[in-house]
Symmetry: C2
Subunit: 340 residues, 2 copies
Amino acid sequence: MNLKQLAEHLNLSQTTVSRALNGYPEVSEKTREKVLRAAQELNYSPNARAKGLATGRAHAIGHVLPISDQHEMVNPIFGDFIAGAGQTYSKAGYEVVISLVDDKDEEQAYRSIRNRGNVDGIIVHGPRMTDSRIALLTELGLPFVVHGRASQVSLPYSWLDTNNGRAFQRATEFLLDLGHRRIALINGLEFMDFAHRRRVAYEGALTDRGIAPDPALMRSEEMTEIYGYRSAAEMLSLANPPTGFLVSSMITAIGVRRAIHEAGLEMGRDVSVITHDDDLGYLRNGHDVPIFTATRSSVRLAGMRAAEMLLELIRTPAHAPLTQLMEAELIIGSSTGPAQ
Amino acid sequence: MNLKQLAEHLNLSQTTVSRALNGYPEVSEKTREKVLRAAQELNYSPNARAKGLATGRAHAIGHVLPISDQHEMVNPIFGDFIAGAGQTYSKAGYEVVISLVDDKDEEQAYRSIRNRGNVDGIIVHGPRMTDSRIALLTELGLPFVVHGRASQVSLPYSWLDTNNGRAFQRATEFLLDLGHRRIALINGLEFMDFAHRRRVAYEGALTDRGIAPDPALMRSEEMTEIYGYRSAAEMLSLANPPTGFLVSSMITAIGVRRAIHEAGLEMGRDVSVITHDDDLGYLRNGHDVPIFTATRSSVRLAGMRAAEMLLELIRTPAHAPLTQLMEAELIIGSSTGPAQ
DNA sequence: GACCGCACCCAAAGCGCTTTGAGAAACGTT
DNA sequence: AACGTTTCTCAAAGCGCTTTGGGTGCGGTC
């Protein structure tokens, strides 16, 4: 069933039917109603490609997942982010298109996405410290919002980020206030912007209290469970082991917890752990009583907000860049306690 | 840059340029080369909407995520599945379109997806025991592959599934062979087909050995960490607690492990745990030494295979339904041991 | 009765591509 | 020289929609 058939069925022109369906005022209410009813009954819905061709809008948003040799892992937070964003999109009648892009031909890929014209805007995931995509997309004139930031990029651009620096500063201070002096950082990959910010904040908080950051207590890798386990196990067997851990994700923190248990220690008493918590649906940090003391920031909410920002940019093309910094909550759980 | 401009630039007709780009034989090698070079230089890539309109193919695959009140959680395995499928798609020049569909208006949604015409086929996620989508999509004539199966549906249709029954049967027998008699099942939601199959297999394996399944040792919920923790904690405080646990996902198993530790018991010695492991990138079950004894089946691989099947169905429209059953490996880790 | 304005409706062009049906050019064959 | 073949190229139609630039018919005004 297409427009033409629907129009013939109704003995109207395609124009009139199209206008009736799209809410233009040039058509009487009676006609509009008839048209809407028929469309409903005959299960008509317009062909998106044709509509896109005619209007120049795709009614779709691109989410580009960088795939690289360095870390081919799919971001575990991606699902929740998309779920949040998707909710906003579907209200506005937009769809999500996902492209996996090898970062070897990133430039080519983004150019092609632009030319293919099946998205009206892009959400940029996983920004690095110095991310070339921002300049590229600006040049291409394709609306975009970055989830995160790129510290080294000085161009103005739209982004939505969690205040990772503030969160990790507070977390470090929290442990310091409890009397901890040997505090380890189990961080994500530090060419990723968020991880870099976290380390800077952690080091800053330490030095502010006159403590020199100890390289033996800092790790930077992909945030898996195993990584948390190994790092913590190794550090706990040092001559002078840490009494507190700052961890970059719940999954990794779970590995840290495992290492602590295996070392015969108790988390929250012998060793304190504080983690960042993206508030993922399948990995809640406890219901009523949080397990981990954590800096919490909902990635799902971030998705919703980023989507709204992008839709706004698409609606008004000349819009100035939008930015939004979300503060993380500090959640006190049972994984921290005073230093022994 | 569009076809017309490119053709003008080359002093050729659109037809010739189009044919040159799409590898038709009616154009000389010299011309083709010239065209390709120019396209490269001028960064031309065809408008997907227009191409789609003209060819009737969208070169995109739809992944529909059911969202319901019953479980609005985003499937944590979705990311890995998409990553696998995406790899296959991008080789074939296809893209991924994601739709979040509230299962209240499922029928409407699938009809509209079909009419909108921006996907050539669909991967159906999260099939229920009796899933109306299969009949619907068959009727609509839209190619689709189900990730999983729907036991109650007798129509022939294409699916790719892990042999959940066999996996859980083996897992149960493994524990039985170790001397366990009180074996608990911490299952997923049992209106989901995979979870149902797992329970049936578990009960079957028990009764085959003359053990009556005990309802007090069976749970069925969304597979979160907390759920694993609570269920295990409760069961361990029973008068007659289980000595073995069969768990439906790694995340949930981690919760079970936590409960075991908190009860002052040791996993693998006092209590055995065996879990299903989807081999997710961010939640590897150990590198060399697996942590959990597990039935392992890579969801990423499933994504790749399902994508291949779907592309095949799209290529040859009259194709008979394709099916594929993947066997899970039984991985022996340190979370199991002889019953005390 | 002529004129105007309004409400309603339509035909046709155009979005950027593919593809059909056919023509021109170059070449060999008789 | 006339004719077929092969190779290369093109103009134009069509995919399903929106939107422009009118038209038609009706009631009201003078």
